[in-house]
Symmetry: C2
Subunit: 335 residues, 2 copies
């Protein structure tokens, strides 16, 4: 990360009195943690930020301090636009396209490797495990004291984006950052339980049905979540990312796909790859995106057709990657 | 923890050339991590420890260095018996009852609050999240250098007993210990994946069936794993503790029970409690044991009868605990 960018971001933030902070649509723990965390940091400096997200917030994150103060449609006078955890400006949704923000300086704070550097100033570090980890580094430059609220928001991004310190990008520094945030008052147990593990009954029922009909063949696991069944079981797919993670952790599975039918008939595809494999390319070529190990896309229905299309690509890609790695799939790499 | 006990344990270990190290039956990640970790520590000092466990080792821990060198029936001449992660001497199984160990000094290293302090020297710290955390503190006293093998074994105990740093006893010190072990060469991502997340296909299928027929009523969730179905789905219950954890994390669930029928007809009962609730008492009164949040017992069959017996006790206990806490169960405590 460019140290000059950090200094320029400090100048932008300290020079603003009414910044508009925007996080991405379909917000997750790092999106909201970075939005609310920077909000509390700026408030502690006497600034009056407005916090916006163009989508509804996932209920399981309602323990975050300030959860109820995020607005869907911001209005007012702003002197700075801050984009948090967005790899491109479209990810800000409608809130990033208001007439009120036209011509404003744009501060882009993000950790996605695919970030388009669309800001006036770009604080982008793909080695950071979360956008909140970048904010943790920015905090002393702003002269902000850590308190329980800030620490809770920042630790939530760290915990959720690493699925509880499980991803391969977790370094000793990340664990020491988490230790410091705990000492400032954040409850790791509560964040883990609420942000990662707590699940509505409908999700547990949906997992039961989806795992019962899951198909596994030649290193590939997949299942479907038809919309009618979601209704019957009381399942809300928003924010539920655990099922494909569980499937890719099955022994001898290298890639996993979950096909979630939406009310409008389109199909959300969640893709996962075991260590040493990569599903980002398939997602990208289908108009989606993500990381090597976790990616996704949104396809037209019907469900069966989307499934067939993706599975064909995954089979070909898996064969290609196995050949390239000299890995026949029956002796998966340690990981 | 008594600092004198630490010094006396150092003297016992350094004074021994052929110690027999024994961990508990039905070994988990902390049992094997502490057994193998202390084994490597003593070997680095030129000692010749023998490592024993009276039960078969769970396959998902086969990444641990030295996994293949653990013996079921130790023979030879020993000058010290070390019990690791055992709350009472019976937990050592047959290996703790050999004629060869009669009359030997017994070093008892453990972190269970229920430890009976049955050793000549007892290094017992119930505040430690794992027995390997105690070994991490003992290491510098023994003059042992951390290396990748030792670090991998110790981090495995830390990670598995805290379910990936999720339990409420995880302190900033635990995270800093983990950071230090990573710096010594342990791979947190690999340990998390292999020791916590990797799961045989049969287990995923069994979870699907068990979650599909799971019953949830008045804060209590339960399900059954009949032996015949385990056979059909290719499920081996050994080492699979994730299902009751998942069930107790369902919203509005305060206690969860999984009834696993064994081949001999007996029923293994896995119990879990949400934060603020306690299943240790029920397990204890049924001849089992464990912690507040996670406990278990083994009951005579048939399955339906064991289930009825436990559910009645859990219902009564849940009502009692709600009344005592002024918690009606519909407004669960944050956690």
């Amino acid at each position: 990360m460019d140290p000059q960018a950090l200094n320029r971001s400090r100048d932008l933030l300290l020079g603003s009195t009414h910044p508009l902070l925007v996080t991405h649509v379909a917000p997750d723990g790092d999106a909201l943690g970075s939005l609310l965390g920077l909000g509390w940091m700026l408030r502690s400096l006497g600034r009056e930020p407005m916090l916006a997200c163009s989508d509804a917030l996932p209920r399981q994150l309602d323990f975050l301090p300030g959860f109820d103060e995020v607005t869907v449609q911001p209005t007012g006078c702003f002197d700075l636009l801050v984009s948090l955890d967005c790899s491109d400006p479209q990810r800000m949704g409608a809130a990033g396209n208001l007439p009120e923000v036209e011509g404003l300086p744009l501060l882009n704070i993000d950790h996605h490797v695919t970030n388009l550097r669309f800001g006036t100033v770009n604080v982008v570090d793909a080695a950071a495990v979360s956008t909140t980890q970048i904010l943790y580094r920015l905090r002393p430059l702003l002269g902000v004291e850590l308190d329980e609220r800030i620490a809770t928001c920042l630790l939530t991004g760290l915990v959720t984006d690493t699925r509880g310190f499980r991803t391969s990008n977790v370094t000793p520094e990340v664990l020491r950052t988490a230790a410091g945030l705990m000492e400032a008052g954040a409850s790791l147990a509560r964040i883990s339980r609420s942000g990662l593990d707590r699940r509505p009954l409908g999700a547990a029922r949906m997992w039961g049905a989806a795992l019962s009909r899951m198909e596994v063949a030649d290193g590939l696991a997949w299942t479907t979540l038809p919309f009618a069944e979601q209704r019957v079981l009381g399942y809300d797919p928003q924010g539920d990312t655990g099922l494909p993670n569980m499937m890719v952790n099955i022994e001898a599975v290298q890639m996993a796909a979950v096909f979630t039918e939406q009310q409008d008939g389109r199909v959300e595809v969640g893709l996962r790859a075991a260590p040493g494999f990569d599903v980002a390319g398939v997602a990208l070529s289908l108009g989606g995106g993500g990381h090597k190990q976790a990616a996704g896309c949104l396809l037209p229905g019907p469900l069966g057709q989307a499934q067939q299309r993706v599975l064909e690509m995954l089979r070909a890609e898996l064969a290609r990657q196995r050949a390239a790695a000299g890995n026949d799939g029956w002796h998966p790499q340690p990981g």
